[in-house]
C-alpha cells in the first residue's frame, strides 16, 4: 500500500471522452440524432433506450407542469475560500463553467408542480464542473430542504455528480454533514425526500443526501458508486464485473427502490407525490 491513491472522489471536469463521436451519437448503438429529435425523446435513444445526459434546466422542463417552476437562490455564486490554484485558478474554472452552461452553479433549486402536486426541486447539472458539490451546492440543497419543510411539500432531488469539489478543500467535505443535517431536519419535519439518481451519482453526493431519500430511484445505466471503477482497480487490482456500480446492479443489491426510465419518470414521481400527500 505504498501508493495510497485515495479513493473517494473522482472528478471529470470535461465531458466524458467522446472517442471522436458526435455528442448526439448514441454510444451504445451508434444511431445519430438531430438535437430536436433527441430532445423530443427526452434525450433517450429511441432505438436502444440509452439515456443521454440531461442538463438541469432541460430536466426541470421534462418533469414539471408548464410554467410551474419558480427558481430560488439563483443568485448564489461560489467564492474561492482557499485561493485554490492547480493548473488554473479555481475562479477561472468557475467563470468558464458559468459561460459554458449558463448556470451559476451545479445545482438548480425551486418550487414546482408535478402532475398538479406541489413540490420542491433540487436538480444537479453534471456539465457544471462535473456536478461537484462545493459550498454553494450544499447551501442550495439546504435551502431547498428548508423551503420544502416550510411549505410542507415533498422535496425531489435529482443528482448527477462526481462528488465533492476539491477546489474548496476541506470545506467541500463539510458539505456532506451539512446536507445530511438538512435531510435529518427534513425527516423530523415529516416531509418526504424522493431521491432520483441520474448518471453519475458518486462519491460525496452518494455518501450524503442522495442516499437518504425516503424513496430512491435510479435512471437506467446510471453509475452509482462511492469509489469509481478506475480508483477501485488501481487500489485493489480487483477484476470488476461489467455491470460494476450500474443502476441495475444496485437494484439487485438492494441499494435503490426502482429503476425508472426517463420517459416514465414524471408519472412515477407524480404517483409517489400523491401517495405521500397526507392532506387529502
Amino acid at each position: 500500500m505504498s501508493e495510497r491513491i485515495d479513493v473517494s472522489i473522482e472528478h471529470r471536469h470535461a465531458p466524458p471522452p467522446s472517442n471522436g463521436r458526435e455528442p448526439n451519437t448514441c454510444p451504445k448503438c451508434d444511431s445519430h440524432y438531430r438535437d430536436d429529435e433527441l430532445e423530443r425523446h427526452l434525450r433517450v435513444c429511441p432505438h436502444c433506450g440509452h439515456h443521454f445526459p440531461v442538463k438541469a434546466r432541460a430536466r426541470i422542463m421534462q418533469l414539471v407542469d408548464p410554467d410551474s417552476f419558480v427558481e430560488e437562490a439563483s443568485e448564489l455564486r461560489s467564492d474561492d475560500p482557499l485561493e485554490f490554484f492547480d493548473l488554473r485558478p479555481y475562479t477561472e474554472r468557475l467563470a468558464e463553467a458559468e459561460l459554458n452552461t449558463g448556470l451559476g452553479e451545479a445545482m438548480v433549486i425551486g418550487q414546482a408542480a408535478i402532475e398538479e402536486q406541489s413540490c420542491q426541486l433540487a436538480v444537479m447539472d453534471f456539465s457544471f464542473m462535473g456536478g461537484s458539490m462545493g459550498r454553494v451546492v450544499g447551501e442550495k440543497f439546504c435551502r431547498a430542504c428548508d423551503s420544502a419543510a416550510e411549505r410542507d411539500e415533498p422535496l425531489v432531488s435529482i443528482t448527477a455528480s462526481g462528488g465533492a469539489r476539491m477546489q474548496e478543500g476541506i470545506l467541500s467535505l463539510m458539505q456532506l454533514p451539512k446536507t445530511v443535517c438538512a435531510v435529518v431536519d427534513l425527516h423530523d419535519a415529516g416531509v418526504p425526500l424522493i431521491s432520483v439518481m441520474a448518471h453519475p451519482t458518486t462519491a460525496g453526493v452518494l455518501a450524503s443526501f442522495a442516499s437518504l431519500g425516503d424513496v430512491i430511484v435510479a435512471e437506467p445505466g446510471a453509475l452509482i458508486v462511492f469509489a469509481g471503477p478506475r480508483v477501485v482497480q488501481e487500489t485493489t487490482r480487483e477484476k470488476l464485473p461489467a455491470d460494476f456500480g450500474l443502476a441495475e446492479s444496485n437494484l439487485g443489491l438492494g441499494h435503490v427502490d426502482a429503476i425508472v426510465p426517463r420517459t416514465e419518470l414524471r408519472s412515477y414521481i407524480g404517483r409517489l407525490l400523491r401517495l405521500f400527500d397526507h392532506a387529502e
Binding site: D6, I9, V184, L206, F209, T235, F244
Partner: protein
C-alpha cells in the same frame, strides 16, 4: 514600510484572532502551545511544513486508536460485528470507563505490522465498519453514554465488496445517526482524516484535531493525479488544499487543536495520550448538563452553518 508578505500575514492573524470558534479552544494549560500554533500560521506554513504534517499524520509509529484506548480507558470491552454481515477490523468499537464514567468509543485502527495492516486494511473501513459504529452510537444513545470517536483513515475502503455492501449509503447513514444522537459527542482526528471515511465518524458536538493530524477531502496523491494529472505533484496539491490542523481551525472546521509531544505523537505515546485525554475531558465537561435535544439542535445548526451565504 511593511512588506507585502508581512501585510498578508498580519491580515491573516487578525482574521484568525477574530474567529468565534477560537473561544471554544480552551484547552487548560495548552494555551501556550496553541499560541505557538498561531505563531506558526503567522509565519506562513511553507509547502514543506504542510508536507511534514502529512508525513507525521501517516507516520508508521504514530499511536493508533487502541494505543489511546489502552492509556485512557479502564475496563475496556470491545464490541464486534455489525449484526448483519461481519466484523470490520479497520474500525474498533467498545465501552470503557473514562475518568470515572462509561463512554462508548469508536475509532479507525490501522495495524502495526504488515500482517495486521492487511487485516485492518490500513484503517479503511467497509460498510460493515460504519454499520458497527452506528450500532454502538445507538447503544450510547439508549444508555446515555457520551460518544467519542477517533478518526484515522486514508479514506473508506474502495473495493468491489465495499461497493456491493453499500459504501456510500453506509457513510451517509452513519452521519445521519450522529446527527440524531442525544448524548454528548466528541470526535478527534488523530492521524489521517481522509474524506468520506473520516466524516462518517466526525459529525460531533466538538471536533478536535491533533497538532500533526490532517483532515482533507481527498489525499494529496489523489488530488494531484486528478487536477495536475500527475500523482508526483502531491506536495503542490497538499499546499493548495491545506489539510493541516492550523488551517482547519482557521476555516472553522474544527474547534480546537490538541497538542502533541515535541517531535510528534509517535515520540511519546504516554504524553500524547495524556494530552488527548485532557482535551477529551475538557470537551465533554463543556457539553455536560446540556439537554440532549439541545445538543442535537446545536450540532445540526453548527454543521449547517458551514458555508452559509448571506
Amino acid at each position: 514600510m511593511p512588506s507585502e508578505a508581512e501585510l498578508h500575514l498580519r491580515d491573516r492573524l487578525s482574521k484568525l484572532r477574530s474567529l468565534r470558534l477560537l473561544g471554544g479552544a480552551r484547552l487548560s494549560g495548552e494555551l501556550e502551545r496553541l499560541q505557538r500554533q498561531l505563531e506558526r500560521i503567522t509565519s506562513g506554513a511553507t509547502d514543506d511544513e504542510i508536507w511534514r504534517s502529512v508525513e507525521l499524520a501517516r507516520h508508521d509509529d504514530r499511536p493508533y486508536t487502541l494505543d489511546y484506548v489502552e492509556r485512557l480507558l479502564d475496563d475496556f470491552v470491545e464490541l464486534r460485528g455489525d449484526r448483519g454481515l461481519g466484523d470490520d477490523a479497520a474500525l474498533v468499537a467498545g465501552l470503557g470507563r473514562f475518568r470515572g464514567r462509561t463512554v462508548a468509543l469508536v475509532g479507525h485502527q490501522k495495524g502495526r505490522d504488515a500482517r495486521e495492516r492487511a487485516e485492518r486494511k490500513w484503517g479503511m473501513a467497509h460498510p460493515e465498519g460504519y454499520r458497527k459504529a452506528m450500532r454502538v452510537m445507538e447503544l450510547a444513545d439508549r444508555h446515555d453514554f457520551p460518544f467519542v470517536s477517533l478518526v484515522d483513515t486514508p479514506g473508506a475502503y474502495p473495493g468491489l465488496a465495499a461497493e456491493q455492501h453499500g459504501q456510500g449509503g453506509a457513510i451517509a447513514r452513519a452521519q445521519a445517526a450522529m446527527a440524531r444522537l442525544e448524548v454528548p459527542t466528541v470526535a478527534c482526528i488523530i492521524g489521517e482524516g481522509g474524506s468520506g471515511g473520516a466524516i462518517a465518524l466526525a459529525l460531533a458536538d466538538r471536533v478536535l484535531m491533533q497538532e500533526n493530524a490532517i483532515y482533507s477531502v481527498i489525499s494529496p496523491e489523489g488530488c494531484a493525479a486528478i487536477l495536475w494529472r500527475d500523482a508526483g505533484e502531491k506536495k503542490k496539491a497538499a499546499s493548495a488544499f491545506k489539510p493541516d490542523a492550523a488551517h482547519c481551525l482557521e476555516l472553522g472546521v474544527i474547534d480546537a487543536i490538541v497538542a502533541e509531544p515535541p517531535g510528534g505523537a509517535h515520540e511519546d505515546f504516554d504524553e500524547a495520550a495524556r494530552l488527548l485525554g485532557e482535551a477529551l475531558a475538557e470537551a465533554l465537561e463543556e457539553l455536560d448538563g446540556t439537554p440532549g435535544d439541545e445538543l442535537k439542535r446545536r450540532r445540526r445548526r453548527r454543521f449547517r452553518s458551514i458555508g452559509v451565504y448571506a
